[in-house]
Homo-oligomer: 497 residues x 2
């Protein structure tokens, strides 16, 4: 057996353990009874420890080094790509002392409960000291990882390998004023009526319709399953086992319908990774930003387009006769309503990135020592007012709204906004290469788009970084002009700007 084969075998165990952990996590969020939490934590921590031990062992390093002498030098070949990616993974994983990993896991597990109560009671003080400890750990973590310019670079890089604070700042500042301006112009126009989305909709029928849509998109139920959970998510246990979950509301169509399109976008990415990469460390999406580009493309660029609904609305009306009198134009406007609101997860396409840019700035300044945890409510509200023109009435609708910090996820938020930008850049490239795409979508045909995504993005798995992939696909870099143009065009029509 070659050293490369031996490495693959060793890493195969790591992948299998990670996939098993993902199954346990999925079960936890979809089925597990409440009383089982402690046992599940025990099972997961055992698997996590074994996974970490096997992966970070010196034997892995030696196999990587030896294997490098065996493989060709084609940058994008499976072997060269695997070694490149695994080396980076290995270096990252071995930077943290075991004691720190344990402290981190313990602190964030406890923090979650504290945050849940603090948010419920709109009481930032109850979360403050916990968040202070987490930020100290985030700082330490940046020091372990190392960085060139800004400690935030290190945290960002865990979710978007190679991305820097300066680059994100440039991209974000490049479109923030234009978003503010767009939203301001919209606010001066007659507002959109979204009451058609707030009828009573039977959950069974919501599920059936949304599943029909995402299967038509190309979500493969031979290799995927849909279930119900409080917080919708997508997870995968390999290329051929991808799960999406849905949250239903009886009186609001959006959470299940657009939520399922969103998760199916993630799922089709995972299902589209080349079969021969299954079970290797090249399997899965390359970054959170690219992942989000897929979910947002299907949810928004396709799923909130007029063409799509010219095909889908008649079927929706068959499912829900209460919508019989709603015109395509009225429905299209309703699902594209823009509104200044406090909660990120409920935000529309125009305001969403502003929510993210706010969080990015705050995280960067926390890491840079320019903002103290104790001042967060004040800073949050001031900056929110500056971007949105409204002030959260309490911290539950402000600084306490997101789960991320309590889970130790600092540096994660920017990927959401990058995903929005990329969704339009990738889609525009696909249309440039296949001008018939919009017409196909208006006829309920999605094969060309999905095939293009499979070939150009999904199949590669983790071979290329976001920047490399974007260069290959679009010929350029991640940028915000395309997204702004997309919003101006779409919302210009909706609001008659």
């Amino acid at each position: 057996m070659s050293k490369y084969q031996a490495l693959l075998t060793r890493l195969g165990d790591v992948v299998s353990l990670r996939e098993a952990m993902a199954v346990l996590g999925y079960d936890q969020q979809t089925q597990m009874p409440a009383g089982a939490a402690e046992g599940r934590a025990r099972q997961l921590s055992t698997l996590a420890r074994m996974e970490h031990e096997i992966f970070t062992d010196d034997a892995t390093k030696h196999l990587i080094d030896d294997a490098e002498n065996e493989v060709d030098d084609v940058y994008e070949s499976d072997a060269v790509s695997l070694l490149r990616v695994v080396k980076q993974d290995y270096e990252e994983a071995t930077k943290f002392p075991a004691s720190f990993v344990e402290e981190w896991a313990k602190e964030t597990t406890l923090a979650h409960e504290t945050w849940v109560h603090a948010r419920a009671n709109k009481d930032f003080k109850a979360f403050e000291s916990t968040l202070e400890r987490i930020m100290v750990l985030a700082h330490k973590s940046a020091e372990f990882l190392g960085y060139k310019e800004h400690p935030y670079d290190a945290l960002l890089g865990r979710f978007e390998r190679g991305m820097t604070t300066a680059e994100v700042d440039r991209i974000f500042e490049g479109h923030r004023p234009r978003l503010v301006d767009l939203i301001s112009r919209i606010s001066q126009k007659p507002q959109v009526d979204d009451s058609p989305l707030h009828h009573h909709f039977e959950q069974d029928k919501q599920r059936e319709f949304a599943m029909n849509v995402v299967q038509r998109f190309g979500f493969d139920t031979h290799r995927g399953v849909q279930a119900v959970s409080v917080h919708p998510f997508c997870t995968s246990f390999g290329v051929n086992d991808v799960r999406i979950t849905t949250r239903f509301e009886d009186n609001f169509l959006n959470p299940a319908l657009f939520g399922m399109m969103h998760e199916a976008g993630h799922a089709m990415y995972e299902q589209g990774v080349a079969q021969h990469l299954d079970g290797t460390m090249l399997s899965g999406g390359t970054s959170l930003g690219v992942h989000e580009s897929q979910s947002r493309m299907w949810e928004n660029v396709v799923g909130r387009s007029k063409g799509f609904w010219s095909w889908a609305l008649p079927m929706l009306k068959e499912t829900f006769p209460q919508l019989a009198d709603v015109s395509l134009d009225a429905f299209y406007k309703a699902i594209n309503k823009v509104e200044r609101s406090f909660i990120r997860v409920e935000a529309d396409e125009a305001t969403y990135n502003l929510h993210i840019i706010l969080r990015f700035g705050i995280e960067r300044d926390l890491l840079g020592g320019k903002v103290a945890v104790k001042d967060l409510p004040k800073v949050w509200n001031e900056r929110f007012e500056a971007s949105f023109g409204i002030t959260p009435p309490h911290d539950g609708l402000g600084v306490l709204q997101d789960v991320h910090w309590s889970s130790g996820l600092v540096g994660y938020f920017p990927t959401y906004a990058l995903g929005n930008l990329l969704s339009v850049q990738y889609y525009n490239t696909a249309v440039a290469q296949h001008p018939s795409l919009p017409d196909e979508i208006a006829n309920g045909e999605f094969g060309t788009l999905l095939g293009w995504l499979h070939d150009n993005i999904h199949a590669h798995g983790r071979k290329f970084t976001t920047a490399e992939l974007t260069k290959r696909v679009t010929g350029g870099e991640i940028e915000s002009d395309s997204y702004i143009a997309y919003l101006e065009n779409k919302l210009g029509e909706v609001y008659g700007l």
Copy 2:
């Protein structure tokens, strides 16, 4: 840290891996998409290999040996019991060479598919050579395990530690003629009408009613969940996470109703193990026979009793008005109908053990070299005719009906019959100590019975063997007189013998 503590820690990893494997198995049977089979096999085989490596490592043996010098000498203390049980587990696990384990896994995985097709085509020849190889492996396995008198002892002992072929033979031959006689007398009486069980019953309502019943029994949904699967089963990932599954038929009440009581019986055993044994190798039921005693007690001794239905039938009628005109007497007779039939899993309480005794004799004679695989259809049909007075029209209703052999499970069948015998022995003991029990059941109160089972059987987990436990509980040994008396009494009334 003491050596005993170190051993507990090491074994804790083994238990966590086993529990994780059980989660993956449960997901596989309840949710996993068809295309994921290969990936799941990869994940499971990785975990199984790690579990086996950790458990059978010399380090485990050394810790066991060292720990033995630290603990007290109280036979039933946690520490002494754990060491006793783990030593036996360890010795058993290390008896098989890794190459044999691999061959076994491979052969039985392939055999399953072969058996499925052979049964569907009623074609024993298509399964014959596969079954021959499995029996060769079963033989080898008996040699690896070692035995005193009969190679079948070794196989039996894997499912009922300490049980011998001679003992099973004595117990089975002790009641076989009496079963044959009872069934013969019943067949001469007017037969029971079970048409009330064959109405159309909505699945949602079946589920709701059966769940109400088993929750009333004491199945704890804070630490348990019910799901749907093709083959009903119970599995547990620790004391606080026990899953049961159900198969529904639209036009037959029994599979879901009595099936759920049965699986809940298993589940309450797992949930009743003492909390401080959770995560240790003493957690779980002590043997398949004792496990089956719990499922059969709740399904049959309680669930098919007149007292229970005097309480439950009015509620069942509320759920299913189509039963409004069925009297308690008629319903009681319907659910206790005795019928000579070909299929074990559909058998009633009187004929069930005859199905098992047939299989036991055949397995014993296969292992003893008295019956050849190629003669099985002939032997099966002759012996079936001798016990039941009818001959299977084809092998699909005969020798090919059970999945067990294709999975390598030789020596498993007897535990079903032992469970039936024990269910009545244990129940009678409980009634002797709590004479009000039958009246409580007739009032829908099950707390005394469940509490007694928890204290006397469940809490101990794997501390005692079936024989030890039965001695502690009943003061005697496993025997068939009680079961026969129970059947004579119940079916005497139903059939007016």
